[in-house]
Symmetry: D2
Subunit: 151 residues, 4 copies
């Protein structure tokens, strides 16, 4: 992972993406509310869904040996979620760097309550020879960045 590359991330005017999800019984803990790592699972799934929405499907990522390892992630938990709550993760790109990028995610319940606000910084990486082999950050193609630009 190329951590140095995260210092020069430039602000970016991004489209946004909506990923639908629902709190399941097994996503909750004995306090009866969502177990917090669930929000990070959702943010990860939302990022893959965002990529899919601009043409970088899971299948394409696999066949081109691409992945998006994390540099950092954080989340603020604003209101508790309960089993069966239907939610959306609203994601956008906040910055693009040379080989890394950052996303902001908002988790909104369907009654418009903001449950959580988080972010991820990721490297754009390629496996040397397929999944399981070493991965190296590589320059994010300009064409890819344009796919996320708000018009």
């Amino acid at each position: 992972m190329d951590h140095g590359a995260t210092s020069n991330l430039a602000p970016f005017a991004s489209i946004s993406h909506r990923f639908a999800c629902q709190v399941q019984w097994g996503d909750c803990d004995p306090a009866g509310i969502i177990f917090y790592p669930t929000y990070f699972r959702w943010m990860d799934a939302a990022t893959w869904s965002f990529m899919d929405s601009v043409g970088y499907t899971a299948k394409r990522m696999r066949s081109e040996h691409l992945a998006m390892p994390l540099v950092s992630a954080e989340c603020q938990f604003l209101a508790p979620a309960l089993q069966a709550d239907r939610c959306s993760v609203i994601s956008r790109i906040t910055r693009f760097g040379g080989t890394s990028f950052a996303l902001a995610h908002e988790v909104m319940r369907d009654d418009a309550t903001l449950l959580a606000k988080g972010s991820e910084t990721r490297v754009w990486g390629r496996f040397a020879s397929g999944p399981g082999s070493p991965m190296k950050g590589e320059p994010i193609p300009e064409a890819l960045k344009q796919l996320f630009r708000a018009s």
Copy 2:
């Protein structure tokens, strides 16, 4: 996965293996007891640990492109487990077939209460060209079977 191969599994006198684990807050659900898929996560981890104990470490499995995909799994839940309960999964091989094998797992709490009894049937498989590529069942080496034989 070679499902036909599971019909001719022969009984096997196996060594047993102990895998230690503990029920975490996030492994429990709003009923305040363990969320049942946790037992299957433990049985999977116990199987890998069992393999490790006879010399088939995760590192070796990776470098030899080996994996152990599931044919089936089942579990009976005998007593509820609570957060912080320290447990062991006691595993043994029950049958070896041509390209598949079966394991029995008992989940015991450290106070000797039997919490769950389960089993898995798995294929001994190899990736065509590393993780992510297609996998094919292959004959289980006799030498491997001997590593599990009770003396």
Copy 3:
């Protein structure tokens, strides 16, 4: 959990229920396919969704101190699932006993490939005094059974 009650389960002609789900990156393992306990997480969520569909919502279950602890669960894995695969869990009740019931679940990919077939046996239980307190199996109301009956 009332295990004795499982012996006299009677066959039942059930409506069926569809629960939609998708394989996420984090649901897969280094073999690049779904990690098998994910199927049990799905079967659990499908059961809660089935209950919800007949009026036993998560909210009602909570307020009436009801839960559905497991007696046993099993699954056969028929075809591997990959990240992004869209699937359905098709569930129906197979048997109702005095205080327990059994469900059959089929996991179907949206291309109509049957990925997995499983079942769960559960107790119909009530907490003595809310979540976290002891739970006891109790007779399944006839009115509840009728909600699941195929007409």
Copy 4:
């Protein structure tokens, strides 16, 4: 959750606690490395283990209707972890406020490689009437703070 209370957190000289863990097959993703929400699961388990170590066991927390809901969490991922890697989470309290507190966690592999550095801010909360009922932040007892003070 009492978010206002997090502004006046004072620095604190804390004992540290070690929580042992191991990367399992199912904790890894198709890239062959740890799926990042696993680190948050570990940090949560490490916090509960830390509490246990000063006498606030899971059993006591349950019987006194105490919980530790999250205000925020973040983590920096410094090096990838592989299946079977044995690790420790080293935790300490960094600040105590009126009703909230913050922890720093370092995830170290047993070969002394620092894998991740994270933190959590939590509220010290009590359920109105047992798990599942509403929870309210309450003043952290001075006696509890002293249990964590480095001597």
